[in-house]
Amino acid sequence: MQQTSHKFKDNVKHALKQPNLRTAIDRTTGLLTSRRRETLAQYPEYAEARATAERIKDHTLDYLDHYLEMFEKNAIASGAKVYWAETPKQATDTIIDICKSHDAKSVTRAKSMLGEEIGIGEALAEAGIERVETDLAEHIIQLADEPPSHIVVPALHKTREEVAELFTEHHADPHKTDDVAALVESARRELRPKYVGADIGISGANFLIADTGSICTVTNEGNAELTTTLPKVHIVNVGIDKLVPSMGHCAVFIRLLSRAALGTEISQYTTYYNGPKRSGDIDGPEELHIVLVDNRRTEIFDSFMKPMLRCIRCGACMNHCPVYNAVGGHPYGYVYPGPMGAILTPAMTSLEEAGDLPNACTLNGRCQEVCPVNIPLPDMMRRLREEQWRRKLTPASMRVGLGFWAFAVKRPWLYRLGTRFSVVMMRWVARAKGKITSLPGAGGWTRHRDLTAPQQGTFMDQYKRGRRS
């Protein structure tokens, strides 16, 4: 996808003007966060599971080279072919080569964020291969020709009314009523024949199990299994961070993933794949290809952002983020939005291209609190801001402002004089009303609400009064 993160502020302005966007976001994140709360309330062992998951991921990262080789060996033993790719281009080239060697005309795809990362959609289009997105949300945004706006529910920015319009326009036999069930049925009818007609199925993986060489997918709709079982060839594109040592370790993540993502104990379909169809099997693909993708994960591995490689892509951090909830996923301008996107975008592109993303955060700490693998997102956000400052990427106005502030704060008499002056000025502006309705330099605040003028003097005045009494 075309990255637009550097235009974050403009993207936000655009998003805030979309009439339906807030409704669409609120309807979804509201339900997801309340369901998560309810499920966790019934799972007193959650804290223990979360701590264990964090330790398992850290252990796996400590021996990632070893576990990757172990996975590769076992996957090959089960009959899969394993490929490695450093860059998105290498990954898509490998996938397109496999497609071409089978003369593939049509590919079904089960949603994976890694696929978005490497630009699998564009690569297939260039190769002239039809791509059928089978996940309902991906199907919606494919019809709308839009990028995903959330990592778990990618069409979150669409209201049901908008989906209804899209389906009426594109489906052969669209819904008759506008309720959500009828829309889902319409997509089922539309996609059914496409599953059967596809030459190749492409999926991602939620987990790779090192000691068995298995791929694990976790879905609700059942589209992954139809995508991976019906066509003759199954290709898996997956990041090298998805490893866990064994099935027993995986169980901890299965307990956490759906609770964090959707507020359910477990998703409907948790499937473990080992190699292609066996002799005598009636269904299943004849070939299984696994493409292990780096895309700068080894660089993240070697940086302060290493804990980011624990991420299980549950989306809880964005569901709970005030910035994400105000503007949605598109303004972030890259594959990953929300708090985790504000880290992954500079990590996978560059701090320059990521623009304001590390600043699109109030540092309220909710994201880390709700993260099932305890990733210190706010700390990393702070580190990225420092890095921006060091590399002089922070806007000049802010640098100058902070320069003045730093000068004053190092000279208490000057700082106090300054604050006293501001208090006097603010009282003067507010006059009898006690409220400031417009203040130069703080238009962003006063456009939507009044600012109360300080009644009690400066902090130091109050502090001194307090000490005397």
Partner: protein, 225 residues
């Protein structure tokens, strides 16, 4: 030995090389790694949700029939009684007396009475009946593995999925299943499917809707104690 193309070989050594450089590790003691991994598994009871006051069967039924999973459950004394239970279900749903089932001997040998059986599976199959290998009480899940007589798609293509499961095969936790597989020490099947309730989607305004791409209805017949 492993890689398929030159580019892949290069990428493989670059990726592993970068990881090793960053880790700064020289030798690797495999016993230490395995020991650490084992100790992380530690005491699974610490993160397994507790339901000590319930039998596995009771928990399984409670979960499977929950609002979230939307399955219905019938209990019969033995596998031989399963066709009658299937017949009851078909009548309840006002469906024709016709089912598809996988080519398993134990299903072929049942007396299906008035129900017409076929072993083909169409993309729009109305009703398929198959047998689960195991069930998991914790989550209300059913476990299927692929074999020559047990294709995967019977659990995904039909609109109504009717599942027979042995009451003695209800395990408490996911880990119990994996421990059993590990003890058996056989190569894992091509596909192991943990299925929990009917196909659903929350993709439009997070509303839970059934029958997205897989079955819209699930009926479980538990046979035996």
């Amino acid at each position: 030995m492993s890689s398929q193309t030159d580019g892949s070989t290069g990428a493989r050594s670059a990726i592993l090389g970068a990881l090793r450089k960053s880790l700064g590790r020289t030798a690797l003691d495999l016993d230490v790694v395995a020991g650490e991994a084992q100790s992380l598994l530690g005491d699974a009871t610490r993160h397994q949700p507790k339901f000590d006051d319930q039998t596995s069967r009771a928990r399984f039924i409670e979960r499977a029939t929950s609002e979230r999973l939307t399955a219905t459950v019938d209990e019969v004394a033995a596998l031989a009684d399963a066709p009658a239970a299937v017949q009851r279900y078909l009548q309840q749903c006002d469906l024709p007396a016709q089912i598809s089932h996988p080519p398993m001997d134990c299903l072929r040998e049942l007396d299906w009475g008035a129900i017409a059986c076929h072993e083909t599976l169409s993309p729009d199959e109305p009703v398929a009946v198959n047998i689960a290998d195991w069930a998991i009480a914790e989550t209300g899940s059913l476990v299927f593995t692929s074999r020559s007589d047990s294709p995967t798609l019977y659990s995904y293509l039909p609109l109504h999925h009717v599942i027979l499961v042995d009451g003695g095969g209800i395990l408490r936790y996911m880990e119990d299943y994996w421990a059993m597989i590990r003890a058996a020490d056989t190569a894992p099947p091509r596909s192991t499917n943990f299925i929990t309730g009917t196909s659903g989607t929350a993709d439009i305004e997070a509303q839970n809707i059934r029958g997205a791409h897989g079955p819209r209805f699930m009926h479980i017949v538990i046979f035996g104690e």
